[in-house]
Symmetry: C2
Subunit: 330 residues, 2 copies
Protein backbone atom coordinates (compact mmCIF):
# COMPACT_ATOMS: atom_id res chain seq x y z
CA UNK A 1 0.00 0.00 0.00
CA UNK A 2 1.22 3.48 -0.87
CA UNK A 3 -0.22 6.80 0.22
CA UNK A 4 -0.32 9.86 -2.02
CA UNK A 5 -1.16 13.39 -0.91
CA UNK A 6 -1.92 16.38 -3.11
CA UNK A 7 -1.56 19.43 -0.87
CA UNK A 8 -3.36 22.24 -2.66
CA UNK A 9 -3.93 25.87 -1.73
CA UNK A 10 -7.34 25.17 -0.18
CA UNK A 11 -7.87 21.40 -0.19
CA UNK A 12 -5.74 18.33 0.30
CA UNK A 13 -6.56 15.18 -1.61
CA UNK A 14 -5.32 11.91 -0.11
CA UNK A 15 -5.40 8.43 -1.63
CA UNK A 16 -4.23 4.91 -0.84
CA UNK A 17 -3.18 2.78 -3.80
CA UNK A 18 -2.25 -0.88 -3.88
CA UNK A 19 0.77 -2.31 -5.71
CA UNK A 20 -1.20 -2.40 -8.98
CA UNK A 21 -1.93 1.31 -8.61
CA UNK A 22 -5.62 0.89 -7.90
CA UNK A 23 -7.12 3.59 -5.69
CA UNK A 24 -8.36 1.81 -2.55
CA UNK A 25 -9.32 4.80 -0.41
CA UNK A 26 -9.68 8.51 -0.93
CA UNK A 27 -10.36 11.46 1.38
CA UNK A 28 -10.38 15.22 0.94
CA UNK A 29 -10.04 17.82 3.67
CA UNK A 30 -9.01 21.45 4.16
CA UNK A 31 -5.32 22.37 3.91
CA UNK A 32 -3.75 24.24 6.83
CA UNK A 33 -1.59 27.23 5.90
CA UNK A 34 1.97 27.96 6.93
CA UNK A 35 4.80 25.42 7.46
CA UNK A 36 3.50 23.89 10.71
CA UNK A 37 -0.06 23.48 9.49
CA UNK A 38 1.11 22.04 6.17
CA UNK A 39 3.03 19.36 8.07
CA UNK A 40 0.00 18.77 10.32
CA UNK A 41 -2.19 18.44 7.22
CA UNK A 42 0.18 15.86 5.75
CA UNK A 43 0.32 13.90 9.02
CA UNK A 44 -3.48 13.93 9.20
CA UNK A 45 -3.71 12.64 5.64
CA UNK A 46 -1.25 9.80 6.27
CA UNK A 47 -2.81 8.82 9.62
CA UNK A 48 -6.41 8.83 8.39
CA UNK A 49 -5.70 7.03 5.13
CA UNK A 50 -3.50 4.40 6.79
CA UNK A 51 -6.30 3.77 9.33
CA UNK A 52 -8.84 3.43 6.50
CA UNK A 53 -6.57 0.83 4.90
CA UNK A 54 -6.23 -0.95 8.25
CA UNK A 55 -2.55 -0.15 8.77
CA UNK A 56 -0.29 1.86 11.01
CA UNK A 57 1.50 4.72 9.19
CA UNK A 58 4.89 2.98 9.45
CA UNK A 59 3.49 -0.09 7.71
CA UNK A 60 2.86 1.90 4.52
CA UNK A 61 5.35 1.09 1.72
CA UNK A 62 5.82 4.74 0.77
CA UNK A 63 4.29 8.16 1.15
CA UNK A 64 4.37 10.67 -1.68
CA UNK A 65 3.46 14.33 -1.42
CA UNK A 66 2.64 16.57 -4.35
CA UNK A 67 2.88 20.24 -3.45
CA UNK A 68 3.05 23.52 -5.35
CA UNK A 69 6.25 25.53 -5.48
CA UNK A 70 9.88 24.72 -6.00
CA UNK A 71 10.67 21.21 -4.81
CA UNK A 72 14.09 19.77 -4.13
CA UNK A 73 13.02 16.20 -4.60
CA UNK A 74 16.13 14.55 -3.19
CA UNK A 75 16.13 16.62 0.00
CA UNK A 76 12.33 16.68 0.33
CA UNK A 77 12.50 20.47 0.61
CA UNK A 78 9.75 22.84 -0.54
CA UNK A 79 10.38 26.49 -1.34
CA UNK A 80 8.23 29.40 -2.49
CA UNK A 81 4.90 27.62 -2.08
CA UNK A 82 3.21 31.01 -2.03
CA UNK A 83 -0.38 29.74 -1.94
CA UNK A 84 0.42 27.77 1.21
CA UNK A 85 2.25 30.61 2.98
CA UNK A 86 5.38 28.46 2.89
CA UNK A 87 8.69 30.12 2.09
CA UNK A 88 10.78 27.06 2.95
CA UNK A 89 9.89 23.74 4.56
CA UNK A 90 11.84 20.51 5.09
CA UNK A 91 8.65 18.59 4.44
CA UNK A 92 10.26 15.22 3.68
CA UNK A 93 12.39 15.23 6.81
CA UNK A 94 9.67 16.50 9.15
CA UNK A 95 6.97 14.18 7.85
CA UNK A 96 9.11 11.03 7.77
CA UNK A 97 10.23 11.68 11.37
CA UNK A 98 6.60 11.68 12.52
CA UNK A 99 5.18 8.85 10.42
CA UNK A 100 8.31 6.62 10.30
CA UNK A 101 7.86 5.74 6.63
CA UNK A 102 9.78 6.68 3.46
CA UNK A 103 8.54 10.03 2.13
CA UNK A 104 8.96 11.47 -1.40
CA UNK A 105 8.10 15.06 -2.22
CA UNK A 106 7.39 16.23 -5.77
CA UNK A 107 6.06 19.34 -7.47
CA UNK A 108 2.28 18.94 -7.79
CA UNK A 109 2.12 19.39 -11.56
CA UNK A 110 4.84 16.79 -12.12
CA UNK A 111 3.06 14.41 -9.74
CA UNK A 112 -0.19 15.01 -11.61
CA UNK A 113 1.54 14.14 -14.90
CA UNK A 114 2.50 10.76 -13.51
CA UNK A 115 -0.99 10.26 -12.08
CA UNK A 116 -2.71 11.29 -15.30
CA UNK A 117 -0.48 8.95 -17.30
CA UNK A 118 -1.31 6.12 -14.95
CA UNK A 119 -5.02 6.87 -15.11
CA UNK A 120 -4.86 7.14 -18.90
CA UNK A 121 -3.03 3.84 -19.23
CA UNK A 122 -6.12 2.26 -17.75
CA UNK A 123 -4.75 -0.30 -15.29
CA UNK A 124 -6.72 0.98 -12.37
CA UNK A 125 -9.02 3.54 -13.79
CA UNK A 126 -11.72 4.85 -11.52
CA UNK A 127 -15.23 5.07 -12.89
CA UNK A 128 -15.78 7.86 -15.34
CA UNK A 129 -12.41 8.59 -16.87
CA UNK A 130 -11.93 8.05 -20.57
CA UNK A 131 -9.06 5.73 -21.38
CA UNK A 132 -7.16 5.37 -24.64
CA UNK A 133 -8.50 2.88 -27.18
CA UNK A 134 -4.89 1.93 -27.76
CA UNK A 135 -2.98 1.87 -24.51
CA UNK A 136 0.47 1.48 -26.02
CA UNK A 137 1.32 5.19 -26.09
CA UNK A 138 4.16 5.94 -23.75
CA UNK A 139 4.39 9.68 -24.00
CA UNK A 140 2.06 12.26 -22.53
CA UNK A 141 2.06 15.79 -21.26
CA UNK A 142 -0.14 16.96 -18.44
CA UNK A 143 -1.06 20.60 -19.01
CA UNK A 144 -2.15 22.28 -15.79
CA UNK A 145 -4.42 25.30 -16.13
CA UNK A 146 -4.59 26.59 -12.58
CA UNK A 147 -3.64 29.99 -11.23
CA UNK A 148 -0.61 29.56 -13.45
CA UNK A 149 0.16 27.43 -16.49
CA UNK A 150 2.68 24.59 -16.43
CA UNK A 151 3.08 21.08 -17.76
CA UNK A 152 4.52 17.76 -16.65
CA UNK A 153 6.05 15.42 -19.23
CA UNK A 154 6.03 11.63 -19.37
CA UNK A 155 8.32 9.89 -21.87
CA UNK A 156 8.66 6.14 -22.25
CA UNK A 157 6.14 5.80 -19.42
CA UNK A 158 8.34 7.69 -16.96
CA UNK A 159 8.30 11.24 -15.63
CA UNK A 160 10.88 13.48 -17.33
CA UNK A 161 11.71 16.22 -14.84
CA UNK A 162 14.40 17.72 -17.01
CA UNK A 163 18.05 18.27 -16.42
CA UNK A 164 17.37 20.95 -13.76
CA UNK A 165 13.75 20.22 -12.90
CA UNK A 166 12.23 22.85 -15.20
CA UNK A 167 10.84 20.54 -17.91
CA UNK A 168 7.30 21.64 -18.71
CA UNK A 169 7.68 25.25 -17.52
CA UNK A 170 6.02 26.38 -20.74
CA UNK A 171 3.98 29.04 -18.96
CA UNK A 172 6.97 31.32 -19.45
CA UNK A 173 7.44 30.80 -23.15
CA UNK A 174 6.78 34.13 -24.84
CA UNK A 175 4.01 33.87 -27.41
CA UNK A 176 3.45 37.56 -28.04
CA UNK A 177 6.30 40.06 -27.78
CA UNK A 178 3.65 42.81 -27.57
CA UNK A 179 1.90 41.08 -24.64
CA UNK A 180 1.49 42.16 -21.03
CA UNK A 181 4.16 42.02 -18.35
CA UNK A 182 4.36 38.66 -16.57
CA UNK A 183 5.33 38.34 -12.90
CA UNK A 184 8.46 36.55 -14.17
CA UNK A 185 9.66 39.79 -15.77
CA UNK A 186 9.09 38.84 -19.40
CA UNK A 187 6.29 40.09 -21.66
CA UNK A 188 3.59 38.00 -23.33
CA UNK A 189 4.23 34.68 -21.55
CA UNK A 190 1.69 31.92 -22.17
CA UNK A 191 0.68 32.19 -18.52
CA UNK A 192 -0.46 35.79 -19.05
CA UNK A 193 -2.97 34.53 -21.63
CA UNK A 194 -4.24 31.12 -20.54
CA UNK A 195 -4.50 30.69 -16.78
CA UNK A 196 -6.71 31.55 -13.84
CA UNK A 197 -4.60 34.62 -13.14
CA UNK A 198 -4.87 35.71 -16.78
CA UNK A 199 -8.66 35.58 -16.52
CA UNK A 200 -8.71 37.32 -13.13
CA UNK A 201 -6.62 40.15 -14.58
CA UNK A 202 -8.71 40.60 -17.70
CA UNK A 203 -12.12 39.90 -16.23
CA UNK A 204 -12.47 41.61 -12.84
CA UNK A 205 -15.68 40.41 -11.20
CA UNK A 206 -17.19 39.73 -7.80
CA UNK A 207 -18.37 36.34 -9.04
CA UNK A 208 -16.87 33.56 -6.88
CA UNK A 209 -15.66 31.73 -10.02
CA UNK A 210 -14.37 34.36 -12.48
CA UNK A 211 -13.79 31.91 -15.39
CA UNK A 212 -17.41 30.77 -15.16
CA UNK A 213 -18.63 34.37 -15.15
CA UNK A 214 -16.41 35.13 -18.15
CA UNK A 215 -17.81 32.25 -20.17
CA UNK A 216 -21.41 33.07 -19.15
CA UNK A 217 -21.03 36.74 -20.10
CA UNK A 218 -19.48 35.73 -23.42
CA UNK A 219 -22.46 33.47 -24.09
CA UNK A 220 -24.74 36.39 -23.23
CA UNK A 221 -23.08 38.46 -25.92
CA UNK A 222 -20.53 40.66 -24.13
CA UNK A 223 -17.91 41.61 -26.72
CA UNK A 224 -15.25 42.09 -24.04
CA UNK A 225 -15.95 38.68 -22.54
CA UNK A 226 -15.86 37.05 -25.95
CA UNK A 227 -12.50 38.63 -26.71
CA UNK A 228 -10.96 37.44 -23.42
CA UNK A 229 -12.56 34.00 -23.73
CA UNK A 230 -11.18 33.62 -27.25
CA UNK A 231 -7.73 34.66 -26.15
CA UNK A 232 -7.80 32.05 -23.35
CA UNK A 233 -8.72 29.35 -25.86
CA UNK A 234 -5.96 30.50 -28.19
CA UNK A 235 -3.48 30.35 -25.32
CA UNK A 236 -4.49 26.82 -24.38
CA UNK A 237 -4.26 25.76 -28.04
CA UNK A 238 -0.85 27.42 -28.21
CA UNK A 239 0.33 25.47 -25.16
CA UNK A 240 -0.77 22.19 -26.76
CA UNK A 241 0.99 23.16 -30.00
CA UNK A 242 4.23 23.93 -28.13
CA UNK A 243 4.12 20.57 -26.34
CA UNK A 244 3.41 18.57 -29.50
CA UNK A 245 5.91 20.38 -31.75
CA UNK A 246 8.69 20.31 -29.17
CA UNK A 247 8.27 16.99 -27.35
CA UNK A 248 5.76 15.28 -29.66
CA UNK A 249 3.95 13.60 -26.81
CA UNK A 250 1.13 11.42 -28.08
CA UNK A 251 -1.46 12.87 -25.69
CA UNK A 252 -1.90 16.19 -23.96
CA UNK A 253 -4.07 15.76 -20.90
CA UNK A 254 -5.45 19.05 -19.63
CA UNK A 255 -6.23 19.45 -15.94
CA UNK A 256 -6.38 22.07 -13.22
CA UNK A 257 -9.03 24.49 -12.08
CA UNK A 258 -9.96 25.86 -15.51
CA UNK A 259 -11.02 22.40 -16.69
CA UNK A 260 -14.08 22.85 -14.47
CA UNK A 261 -15.33 24.76 -17.54
CA UNK A 262 -15.41 21.36 -19.24
CA UNK A 263 -16.66 21.13 -22.81
CA UNK A 264 -17.19 24.89 -23.05
CA UNK A 265 -13.43 25.46 -22.87
CA UNK A 266 -12.62 22.27 -24.76
CA UNK A 267 -14.90 23.21 -27.67
CA UNK A 268 -13.36 26.68 -27.87
CA UNK A 269 -9.86 25.20 -28.07
CA UNK A 270 -10.92 22.66 -30.69
CA UNK A 271 -12.32 25.54 -32.74
CA UNK A 272 -8.95 27.28 -32.61
CA UNK A 273 -7.25 24.08 -33.83
CA UNK A 274 -9.78 23.85 -36.67
CA UNK A 275 -9.01 27.42 -37.76
CA UNK A 276 -5.27 26.72 -37.69
CA UNK A 277 -5.77 23.51 -39.65
CA UNK A 278 -7.65 25.34 -42.40
CA UNK A 279 -4.71 27.64 -42.97
CA UNK A 280 -1.96 25.08 -42.40
CA UNK A 281 -2.06 21.49 -43.73
CA UNK A 282 1.07 20.85 -41.65
CA UNK A 283 -0.73 21.83 -38.47
CA UNK A 284 -3.82 19.85 -39.49
CA UNK A 285 -1.58 16.77 -39.90
CA UNK A 286 -0.66 16.97 -36.21
CA UNK A 287 -4.27 16.10 -35.24
CA UNK A 288 -4.07 18.24 -32.12
CA UNK A 289 -7.79 18.04 -31.31
CA UNK A 290 -7.80 14.26 -31.06
CA UNK A 291 -4.62 14.26 -28.99
CA UNK A 292 -5.98 16.67 -26.37
CA UNK A 293 -8.19 15.34 -23.60
CA UNK A 294 -9.57 16.99 -20.50
CA UNK A 295 -9.22 15.22 -17.20
CA UNK A 296 -12.18 15.87 -14.91
CA UNK A 297 -11.11 18.15 -12.08
CA UNK A 298 -12.50 15.61 -9.61
CA UNK A 299 -9.97 12.92 -10.52
CA UNK A 300 -7.10 12.73 -8.05
CA UNK A 301 -4.32 12.82 -10.63
CA UNK A 302 -1.81 14.62 -8.42
CA UNK A 303 -2.55 12.44 -5.36
CA UNK A 304 -2.26 9.22 -7.36
CA UNK A 305 0.88 10.53 -9.04
CA UNK A 306 2.36 11.48 -5.67
CA UNK A 307 1.79 7.91 -4.48
CA UNK A 308 3.52 6.62 -7.62
CA UNK A 309 6.53 8.93 -7.23
CA UNK A 310 7.80 6.60 -4.50
CA UNK A 311 7.93 3.63 -6.87
CA UNK A 312 11.18 2.59 -8.53
CA UNK A 313 11.64 3.75 -12.13
CA UNK A 314 8.92 6.37 -11.88
CA UNK A 315 11.15 8.97 -13.44
CA UNK A 316 14.03 9.22 -15.91
CA UNK A 317 17.20 10.14 -14.06
CA UNK A 318 19.46 12.94 -15.21
CA UNK A 319 22.51 13.07 -13.05
CA UNK A 320 24.01 16.19 -14.53
CA UNK A 321 22.88 18.70 -11.96
CA UNK A 322 21.82 18.27 -8.34
CA UNK A 323 18.17 19.13 -7.65
CA UNK A 324 19.21 22.12 -5.55
CA UNK A 325 19.48 24.19 -8.68
CA UNK A 326 15.88 23.60 -9.73
CA UNK A 327 14.47 26.91 -10.86
CA UNK A 328 10.72 27.38 -11.03
CA UNK A 329 8.49 30.36 -10.68
CA UNK A 330 6.39 29.93 -7.53
CA UNK B 1 32.93 -0.84 -38.12
CA UNK B 2 29.89 1.25 -38.96
CA UNK B 3 29.43 3.67 -41.82
CA UNK B 4 27.45 6.89 -41.51
CA UNK B 5 26.40 9.12 -44.39
CA UNK B 6 25.00 12.63 -44.19
CA UNK B 7 23.42 13.31 -47.57
CA UNK B 8 23.04 17.07 -47.80
CA UNK B 9 21.66 19.28 -50.54
CA UNK B 10 25.09 19.90 -52.07
CA UNK B 11 27.58 17.71 -50.22
CA UNK B 12 27.61 14.27 -48.71
CA UNK B 13 29.70 13.62 -45.63
CA UNK B 14 30.73 10.02 -45.01
CA UNK B 15 32.47 8.53 -41.97
CA UNK B 16 33.55 5.16 -40.65
CA UNK B 17 33.39 4.69 -36.88
CA UNK B 18 34.63 1.82 -34.77
CA UNK B 19 32.65 0.14 -31.98
CA UNK B 20 33.75 2.85 -29.52
CA UNK B 21 32.37 5.50 -31.85
CA UNK B 22 35.75 6.87 -32.86
CA UNK B 23 35.86 8.35 -36.36
CA UNK B 24 38.37 6.24 -38.32
CA UNK B 25 37.88 7.66 -41.81
CA UNK B 26 36.03 10.59 -43.34
CA UNK B 27 35.34 11.70 -46.91
CA UNK B 28 33.22 14.42 -48.46
CA UNK B 29 31.96 14.56 -52.03
CA UNK B 30 29.22 16.14 -54.13
CA UNK B 31 25.66 14.85 -53.75
CA UNK B 32 23.82 13.76 -56.89
CA UNK B 33 20.26 15.02 -57.26
CA UNK B 34 17.13 13.00 -57.89
CA UNK B 35 16.29 9.50 -56.55
CA UNK B 36 18.73 7.55 -58.72
CA UNK B 37 21.67 9.85 -58.10
CA UNK B 38 20.96 9.95 -54.36
CA UNK B 39 21.18 6.16 -54.26
CA UNK B 40 24.35 6.29 -56.37
CA UNK B 41 25.80 8.86 -53.98
CA UNK B 42 25.05 6.61 -51.02
CA UNK B 43 26.56 3.57 -52.75
CA UNK B 44 29.67 5.57 -53.58
CA UNK B 45 29.97 6.66 -49.94
CA UNK B 46 29.65 3.12 -48.63
CA UNK B 47 31.99 1.61 -51.19
CA UNK B 48 34.74 4.21 -50.79
CA UNK B 49 34.59 4.30 -47.00
CA UNK B 50 34.52 0.51 -46.68
CA UNK B 51 37.58 0.32 -48.96
CA UNK B 52 39.38 2.94 -46.86
CA UNK B 53 38.67 0.79 -43.80
CA UNK B 54 39.92 -2.28 -45.66
CA UNK B 55 36.56 -4.03 -45.87
CA UNK B 56 33.98 -5.08 -48.41
CA UNK B 57 30.64 -3.24 -48.01
CA UNK B 58 28.87 -6.39 -46.78
CA UNK B 59 31.42 -6.75 -43.97
CA UNK B 60 30.31 -3.46 -42.41
CA UNK B 61 28.25 -3.93 -39.21
CA UNK B 62 25.71 -1.30 -40.19
CA UNK B 63 25.15 1.63 -42.51
CA UNK B 64 23.23 4.68 -41.40
CA UNK B 65 22.01 7.47 -43.63
CA UNK B 66 20.94 10.91 -42.44
CA UNK B 67 18.90 12.73 -45.05
CA UNK B 68 16.64 15.78 -45.11
CA UNK B 69 12.88 15.41 -45.48
CA UNK B 70 10.29 13.15 -44.00
CA UNK B 71 11.76 9.79 -43.06
CA UNK B 72 9.87 6.61 -42.31
CA UNK B 73 12.63 5.08 -40.30
CA UNK B 74 11.21 1.57 -40.10
CA UNK B 75 10.61 1.31 -43.84
CA UNK B 76 13.75 3.26 -44.77
CA UNK B 77 11.59 5.51 -46.95
CA UNK B 78 12.34 9.18 -47.64
CA UNK B 79 9.67 11.66 -48.75
CA UNK B 80 9.64 15.35 -49.64
CA UNK B 81 13.43 15.79 -49.62
CA UNK B 82 12.94 18.92 -51.71
CA UNK B 83 16.59 20.02 -51.74
CA UNK B 84 17.55 16.65 -53.25
CA UNK B 85 14.77 16.62 -55.87
CA UNK B 86 13.38 13.54 -54.16
CA UNK B 87 9.64 13.23 -53.78
CA UNK B 88 9.76 9.62 -52.57
CA UNK B 89 12.57 7.09 -52.37
CA UNK B 90 12.86 3.62 -50.85
CA UNK B 91 16.41 4.42 -49.86
CA UNK B 92 16.80 1.73 -47.22
CA UNK B 93 15.57 -1.06 -49.50
CA UNK B 94 17.51 0.08 -52.58
CA UNK B 95 20.77 0.69 -50.77
CA UNK B 96 20.73 -2.52 -48.73
CA UNK B 97 20.05 -4.55 -51.90
CA UNK B 98 23.20 -3.14 -53.47
CA UNK B 99 25.58 -3.16 -50.51
CA UNK B 100 24.23 -6.29 -48.75
CA UNK B 101 24.46 -4.74 -45.28
CA UNK B 102 21.84 -3.56 -42.76
CA UNK B 103 20.81 0.03 -43.54
CA UNK B 104 19.09 2.56 -41.26
CA UNK B 105 17.69 5.82 -42.54
CA UNK B 106 17.04 8.80 -40.27
CA UNK B 107 16.13 12.44 -40.67
CA UNK B 108 19.38 14.42 -40.85
CA UNK B 109 18.63 16.73 -37.91
CA UNK B 110 17.74 13.81 -35.65
CA UNK B 111 20.90 12.00 -36.75
CA UNK B 112 22.93 15.12 -36.03
CA UNK B 113 21.44 15.29 -32.53
CA UNK B 114 22.74 11.81 -31.81
CA UNK B 115 26.11 12.67 -33.34
CA UNK B 116 26.42 15.94 -31.45
CA UNK B 117 25.55 14.20 -28.19
CA UNK B 118 28.17 11.58 -28.87
CA UNK B 119 30.78 14.20 -29.73
CA UNK B 120 29.84 16.22 -26.64
CA UNK B 121 30.13 13.21 -24.37
CA UNK B 122 33.77 13.12 -25.35
CA UNK B 123 34.47 9.42 -25.93
CA UNK B 124 35.88 9.92 -29.35
CA UNK B 125 36.13 13.60 -29.81
CA UNK B 126 37.98 14.82 -32.86
CA UNK B 127 40.52 17.57 -32.45
CA UNK B 128 39.03 20.97 -31.81
CA UNK B 129 35.59 20.37 -30.37
CA UNK B 130 34.87 21.62 -26.87
CA UNK B 131 33.64 18.89 -24.55
CA UNK B 132 31.76 19.23 -21.29
CA UNK B 133 33.82 19.59 -18.11
CA UNK B 134 31.28 17.28 -16.52
CA UNK B 135 30.30 14.54 -18.90
CA UNK B 136 27.42 13.17 -16.86
CA UNK B 137 24.68 15.18 -18.56
CA UNK B 138 22.33 12.94 -20.44
CA UNK B 139 20.03 15.44 -22.08
CA UNK B 140 20.77 17.66 -25.03
CA UNK B 141 19.03 19.35 -27.91
CA UNK B 142 20.68 19.90 -31.26
CA UNK B 143 19.34 23.09 -32.81
CA UNK B 144 19.86 23.14 -36.55
CA UNK B 145 20.00 26.55 -38.21
CA UNK B 146 20.01 25.70 -41.89
CA UNK B 147 17.61 26.74 -44.61
CA UNK B 148 14.98 25.93 -42.01
CA UNK B 149 15.02 25.64 -38.22
CA UNK B 150 14.52 22.35 -36.39
CA UNK B 151 15.89 20.49 -33.40
CA UNK B 152 16.71 16.95 -32.39
CA UNK B 153 16.32 15.88 -28.77
CA UNK B 154 18.40 13.45 -26.71
CA UNK B 155 17.06 12.33 -23.33
CA UNK B 156 18.74 9.85 -21.03
CA UNK B 157 21.48 9.56 -23.64
CA UNK B 158 19.06 8.35 -26.33
CA UNK B 159 17.37 10.04 -29.26
CA UNK B 160 13.75 10.97 -28.54
CA UNK B 161 12.00 11.06 -31.92
CA UNK B 162 8.59 11.68 -30.38
CA UNK B 163 5.40 9.76 -30.57
CA UNK B 164 4.93 10.52 -34.27
CA UNK B 165 8.44 11.59 -35.24
CA UNK B 166 7.84 15.34 -34.91
CA UNK B 167 9.80 15.96 -31.69
CA UNK B 168 11.96 19.04 -32.18
CA UNK B 169 9.88 20.61 -34.97
CA UNK B 170 10.07 23.90 -33.11
CA UNK B 171 10.59 25.88 -36.32
CA UNK B 172 6.81 26.00 -36.57
CA UNK B 173 6.08 27.28 -33.09
CA UNK B 174 4.51 30.71 -33.50
CA UNK B 175 6.49 33.36 -31.67
CA UNK B 176 4.82 36.44 -33.11
CA UNK B 177 1.15 36.39 -34.15
CA UNK B 178 1.86 39.55 -36.16
CA UNK B 179 4.71 37.88 -38.02
CA UNK B 180 5.07 36.98 -41.70
CA UNK B 181 3.42 34.04 -43.44
CA UNK B 182 5.39 30.80 -43.19
CA UNK B 183 5.39 28.18 -45.94
CA UNK B 184 3.60 25.93 -43.43
CA UNK B 185 0.57 28.23 -43.56
CA UNK B 186 0.97 29.77 -40.12
CA UNK B 187 2.20 33.28 -39.31
CA UNK B 188 5.24 34.24 -37.27
CA UNK B 189 6.86 30.78 -36.98
CA UNK B 190 10.35 30.67 -35.47
CA UNK B 191 11.64 29.54 -38.87
CA UNK B 192 10.50 32.82 -40.44
CA UNK B 193 12.82 34.67 -38.05
CA UNK B 194 15.90 32.56 -37.44
CA UNK B 195 16.99 30.49 -40.43
CA UNK B 196 18.82 30.76 -43.72
CA UNK B 197 15.52 31.27 -45.53
CA UNK B 198 14.54 34.02 -43.06
CA UNK B 199 17.76 35.86 -43.86
CA UNK B 200 17.41 35.31 -47.62
CA UNK B 201 13.90 36.78 -47.48
CA UNK B 202 14.87 39.82 -45.43
CA UNK B 203 18.30 40.46 -46.92
CA UNK B 204 18.20 40.04 -50.69
CA UNK B 205 21.75 40.17 -52.00
CA UNK B 206 23.92 38.81 -54.78
CA UNK B 207 26.55 37.87 -52.20
CA UNK B 208 27.21 34.11 -52.33
CA UNK B 209 26.71 33.83 -48.56
CA UNK B 210 23.80 36.12 -47.62
CA UNK B 211 24.17 35.68 -43.81
CA UNK B 212 27.79 36.79 -44.04
CA UNK B 213 26.81 39.83 -46.09
CA UNK B 214 24.07 40.65 -43.59
CA UNK B 215 26.46 40.56 -40.64
CA UNK B 216 29.12 42.55 -42.54
CA UNK B 217 26.64 45.25 -43.54
CA UNK B 218 25.36 45.44 -39.96
CA UNK B 219 28.94 45.92 -38.76
CA UNK B 220 29.34 48.65 -41.37
CA UNK B 221 26.38 50.50 -39.87
CA UNK B 222 23.40 49.63 -42.08
CA UNK B 223 20.31 50.14 -39.91
CA UNK B 224 18.32 47.64 -41.96
CA UNK B 225 21.01 45.00 -41.61
CA UNK B 226 21.26 45.62 -37.89
CA UNK B 227 17.51 45.20 -37.48
CA UNK B 228 17.46 41.90 -39.39
CA UNK B 229 20.60 40.67 -37.66
CA UNK B 230 19.10 41.46 -34.25
CA UNK B 231 15.88 39.68 -35.12
CA UNK B 232 17.85 36.57 -36.16
CA UNK B 233 19.65 36.58 -32.81
CA UNK B 234 16.36 37.00 -30.97
CA UNK B 235 14.90 34.09 -32.88
CA UNK B 236 17.84 31.82 -32.04
CA UNK B 237 17.60 32.87 -28.39
CA UNK B 238 13.87 32.19 -28.51
CA UNK B 239 14.49 28.68 -29.88
CA UNK B 240 16.92 27.96 -27.04
CA UNK B 241 14.39 29.28 -24.51
CA UNK B 242 11.64 27.06 -25.94
CA UNK B 243 13.88 23.98 -25.75
CA UNK B 244 15.02 24.66 -22.18
CA UNK B 245 11.61 25.63 -20.78
CA UNK B 246 9.81 22.75 -22.46
CA UNK B 247 12.27 19.85 -22.37
CA UNK B 248 14.88 21.26 -19.96
CA UNK B 249 17.77 19.70 -21.80
CA UNK B 250 21.06 20.46 -20.10
CA UNK B 251 22.78 21.61 -23.29
CA UNK B 252 21.61 23.17 -26.51
CA UNK B 253 24.14 22.50 -29.25
CA UNK B 254 23.68 24.78 -32.23
CA UNK B 255 24.71 23.60 -35.68
CA UNK B 256 23.86 24.02 -39.34
CA UNK B 257 24.90 26.49 -42.00
CA UNK B 258 24.33 29.66 -39.96
CA UNK B 259 26.89 28.56 -37.38
CA UNK B 260 29.53 29.38 -40.00
CA UNK B 261 28.99 32.91 -38.60
CA UNK B 262 30.63 31.57 -35.43
CA UNK B 263 31.19 33.93 -32.54
CA UNK B 264 29.53 36.83 -34.35
CA UNK B 265 26.17 35.05 -34.15
CA UNK B 266 26.92 33.48 -30.79
CA UNK B 267 27.78 36.83 -29.19
CA UNK B 268 24.57 38.38 -30.54
CA UNK B 269 22.49 35.59 -29.02
CA UNK B 270 24.30 35.82 -25.69
CA UNK B 271 23.53 39.55 -25.69
CA UNK B 272 19.82 38.78 -26.12
CA UNK B 273 20.00 36.37 -23.16
CA UNK B 274 21.68 39.05 -21.08
CA UNK B 275 18.92 41.54 -21.86
CA UNK B 276 16.26 39.02 -20.92
CA UNK B 277 18.08 38.16 -17.71
CA UNK B 278 18.17 41.79 -16.65
CA UNK B 279 14.40 42.01 -16.84
CA UNK B 280 13.66 38.51 -15.56
CA UNK B 281 15.47 36.88 -12.62
CA UNK B 282 13.61 33.69 -13.51
CA UNK B 283 15.09 33.68 -16.99
CA UNK B 284 18.52 34.58 -15.65
CA UNK B 285 18.33 31.53 -13.35
CA UNK B 286 18.07 29.27 -16.40
CA UNK B 287 21.67 30.17 -17.38
CA UNK B 288 20.88 29.89 -21.07
CA UNK B 289 24.17 31.38 -22.28
CA UNK B 290 26.29 28.77 -20.55
CA UNK B 291 24.03 25.96 -21.76
CA UNK B 292 24.28 26.95 -25.43
CA UNK B 293 27.30 25.90 -27.46
CA UNK B 294 28.02 26.12 -31.15
CA UNK B 295 29.28 23.08 -32.95
CA UNK B 296 31.74 23.94 -35.72
CA UNK B 297 30.08 23.42 -39.09
CA UNK B 298 33.02 21.24 -40.12
CA UNK B 299 32.29 18.54 -37.55
CA UNK B 300 30.44 15.58 -39.06
CA UNK B 301 27.67 15.44 -36.45
CA UNK B 302 25.01 14.12 -38.81
CA UNK B 303 27.31 11.53 -40.39
CA UNK B 304 28.52 10.26 -37.00
CA UNK B 305 24.93 10.27 -35.72
CA UNK B 306 23.76 8.37 -38.79
CA UNK B 307 26.41 5.72 -38.07
CA UNK B 308 25.17 5.52 -34.47
CA UNK B 309 21.50 5.19 -35.47
CA UNK B 310 22.18 1.57 -36.36
CA UNK B 311 23.33 0.74 -32.83
CA UNK B 312 20.97 -0.90 -30.35
CA UNK B 313 19.33 1.46 -27.81
CA UNK B 314 20.19 4.56 -29.83
CA UNK B 315 16.65 5.87 -29.48
CA UNK B 316 13.74 5.71 -27.03
CA UNK B 317 10.95 3.63 -28.55
CA UNK B 318 7.37 4.82 -28.61
CA UNK B 319 5.19 2.15 -30.04
CA UNK B 320 1.99 4.15 -30.11
CA UNK B 321 1.94 5.12 -33.75
CA UNK B 322 3.64 3.57 -36.76
CA UNK B 323 6.26 5.77 -38.38
CA UNK B 324 4.13 6.10 -41.51
CA UNK B 325 2.26 8.93 -39.87
CA UNK B 326 5.34 11.04 -39.28
CA UNK B 327 4.52 14.58 -40.28
CA UNK B 328 7.30 17.02 -41.01
CA UNK B 329 7.58 20.03 -43.21
CA UNK B 330 10.03 19.28 -45.97
Amino acid sequence: MRIGLDIGGTKTDAVVIDEAGTVIERRRFATGRGPEQVVATAVRGVTELAALAGMAPHEVASIGVGIPGQVDRLAGRVQHAVNLDVEELELGRELSAIVSAPVSVENDVKAAALGAFHLLSGDSVPRGIATRDDDSAQSMAYLNLGTGLAAGIVIGGRLWRGSRGTAGEIGHIVVDPAGVLCKCGQRGCLETVASGSAIARQWPTSHPIPPLDLFDCADQGSADARRVRHSVAQGVANAVRVLVLTVDVEDVVVGGGLTALGDRLRDDVVEVFAGWGERSPFLASLELASRMRFIPDAFPAAAVGAALVGMPDASIPDASIPDESVATVA
